[in-house]
């Protein structure tokens, strides 16, 4: 697609989703007017207009496109209204906004201090929750129900985290919304949070620092410093997608699978026409299916392991539409002039080495990487929580006990930030963390306390049952390691 084909990648009809586009706005990309819709991000508006390069790397001046599309990486940082290093993927459009590609590290802003809010409000709550994804939303509702005042922060401009992109029906137990689409579960939780008079929500607000005395520093709308303290704190910061080492892995068009999902399922923008998916785990296979629902062709799925990683039923769903899955294969290189035009695939031997002479090319305009995620643990580290590398939890995590409390009393974790699993587990963990936090504050009392005791025990059992079976082994073992480490480090028995 040329950059003149404005708007052609907007999705109009979708089998599951309806896109209600709001007011039309204009942003200026190097002086060129671009159509945008209120409520979308700079990145989605540019992408819909055919822009693929967002920044150039320092030193080698290589073009960079999106990678995560959820504010976790720095691939899409741009100069926006004269400020460098603004994450275009989570910055909402505003009429008349001036947007430019960023070269290297950017420049110090010329804007004066007068453009900023100098007053820093100080906010407090019984329960401060950083991250409004499935874990954070579920914790907020539970904490409010148990009588706590809640402050819920998210750096995005809408609640829901990754849950608002999950158009598929969820697995799990009927009691916990299995068979219901993730988007539907998200909508219901968000409506409840918004209706609750116990929960204050602060969107577009990035928590960036955890200071001694338990002060969380956050910046609102890139303009105003906010100081936050909570009697109890839940860090439900989610996870970030992993990259993979191969030639030209930074070429615009190489995206995390979640980024493709964000573009198409939140903003209704087609990521491309032909996709190569790298990785056949549940994320890779589910996102492939969702891409097909958005009208995108999946050229192939490659998987380095000798077998398909996803639930069989997810794989079967795309196989019956003729999508080939190459197990024991990997991507060798991406190629293209300034953006992805194709990829070279190679067979791997049983020692994971490429087999010479087995290379073949696949023509595609997008390469999606679904090679795992790693927990976002930065705030936990700043807060002084013991951090350990637990491979089964997909990376470094704050060591936590069965009640999701970290080694710093009063700080809890839940969801992917405590170990990458899936959304149903995240929602249950959020609940467990909220109940534990309430109990530590002596809430609730009487009959309500008995109910909460039962709820806690019940939810713990549900978590165990979801981690049952061969697919649950990873999470089950990872969590066990964390609980044991907690005992060793604190001397406590929980």
């Amino acid at each position: 697609m040329s950059e003149n084909d404005i708007g052609t990648s907007r999705i109009d009809r979708h089998p599951i989703l309806e896109f209600h586009r709001r007011k039309e706005l204009t942003i200026y990309y190097h002086g060129r007017p671009i159509l945008a819709y209120e409520g979308e991000t700079v990145a989605s508006a540019l992408y819909a207009a055919g822009v693929r390069t967002f920044s150039y790397s320092p030193g080698l001046d290589r073009p960079r496109g999106l990678f995560c599309a959820i504010g976790k990486c720095a691939s899409c940082v741009m100069n926006i209204d004269g400020i460098s290093n603004v994450r275009s993927c989570i910055t909402p459009v505003r009429n008349g906004m001036i947007v430019e590609e960023q070269k290297g590290a950017g420049t110090f802003p010329e804007t004066t201090v007068g453009d900023y809010e100098t007053a820093s409000p100080e906010l407090e709550a019984d329960m401060v929750i950083i991250g409004g994804g499935p874990a954070g939303l579920s914790a907020a509702l539970e904490a409010a129900d148990l009588g706590m005042s809640v402050l819920l922060l998210d750096e995005n401009h809408q609640l829901g985290g990754q849950l608002i992109k999950q158009t598929h029906r969820f697995f799990g137990s009927k009691e916990h919304d299995a068979g219901v689409r993730g988007v539907t579960i998200a909508k219901s939780m968000i409506e409840k949070v918004e209706a609750s008079d116990k929960v204050s929500v602060l969107l577009g607000t990035t928590a960036f620092g955890y200071y001694p005395g338990g002060v969380i520093a956050a910046v609102k709308e890139n303009k105003q410093l906010v100081k936050i303290t909570g009697k109890r704190v839940l860090l439900a910061t989610g996870a970030a997608e992993n990259s993979l080492a191969f030639e030209n892995n930074d070429l615009p068009g190489v995206y995390g699978a979640g980024a493709a999902q964000t573009l198409m399922n939140v903003y209704g923008v087609k990521p491309g026409d032909e996709v190569l998916m790298v990785g056949s785990g549940n994320v890779g296979v589910i996102v492939s299916y969702q891409l097909m629902q958005a009208g995108v062709r999946i050229k192939a799925i490659v998987e380095a392991m000798p077998k398909i990683g996803a639930y069989f039923v997810h794989a079967a769903k795309i196989r019956r539409f003729g999508v080939p899955i190459y197990v024991g294969h990997s991507i060798k290189r991406a190629f293209g002039n300034g953006k992805v035009e194709g990829a070279t695939i190679v067979k791997l031997d049983d020692k994971w080495q490429p087999v010479p002479g087995t290379e073949f090319d696949v023509k595609c305009d997008v390469i999606c990487l679904s090679v795992g995620l790693h927990p976002s643990y930065e705030l936990m580290a700043q807060a002084g929580c013991a951090i350990k590398f637990i491979p089964e939890l997909s990376g470094h995590v704050a060591v936590h006990n069965r009640n999701l409390e970290t080694t710093v009393p009063g700080i809890y974790v839940a969801g992917d930030s405590s170990g990458v699993e899936e959304a149903s587990i995240a929602m249950m963990e959020g609940k467990v963390a909220a109940i534990s936090a309430a109990f530590s504050l002596g809430k609730p009392v009487g009959e309500k306390r008995k109910e909460a005791d039962q709820m806690l025990e019940h939810t713990q059992k549900q978590l165990e049952s979801l981690r049952d079976g061969p697919f649950g082994a990873r999470g089950r073992n990872g969590k066990r390691k964390s609980f044991e480490l907690y005992e060793q480090l604190t001397g406590a028995r929980v």
Binding site: F170, K174, A178, P306, V313, K317, D468, F471
Partner: protein, 175 residues
Amino acid sequence: MSDWQTEGYLTVDDLKEKGNIPPEERLRKAPVAITECIQEIPCNPCKAACPFDAILMETITAPPKVDFDKCTGCTMCMRVCPGLTIFMVYLRKKGGEEVGEITIPYELLPVPEKMSVVEAINRRGEIVGEAVITRVFPPEKNSGTALITMEVPAELLMEVRSIGRVIRGPEGVSR
């Protein structure tokens, strides 16, 4: 390692071995559910949705087994199955011969029109014949998942699990 773990599709023999294929006389009686779900994954909405207790599952990770005598082919289980892996199958008498009637869950656009003729697709994504669409339970009545009932030659009853492009529209017009 079984082939389905590397290929992503089951064969009829795989399903026979698991005991998931209803007996011939049951197939001739009325539509019946066939579950093509064979892994231990934590999932049970089909069991909860069945009004006849025809889906057997001891733990949440056990693969579902259908009690073919209790099953009425009512489609409640396939409407909620997140894996889109439950199908209704029926060997129906039509005039003097027998045809295969298959109902599949379908979540792509366009939704085929009733009486149109479409490519009949097997589990590997290959075109194996033609199917006549005989009933469409629209996606908006089932939170996005349409149920498409089609007629195929009887010998394709256990082969066809998807549909492809429209070959002829409802008025017999080639597309």
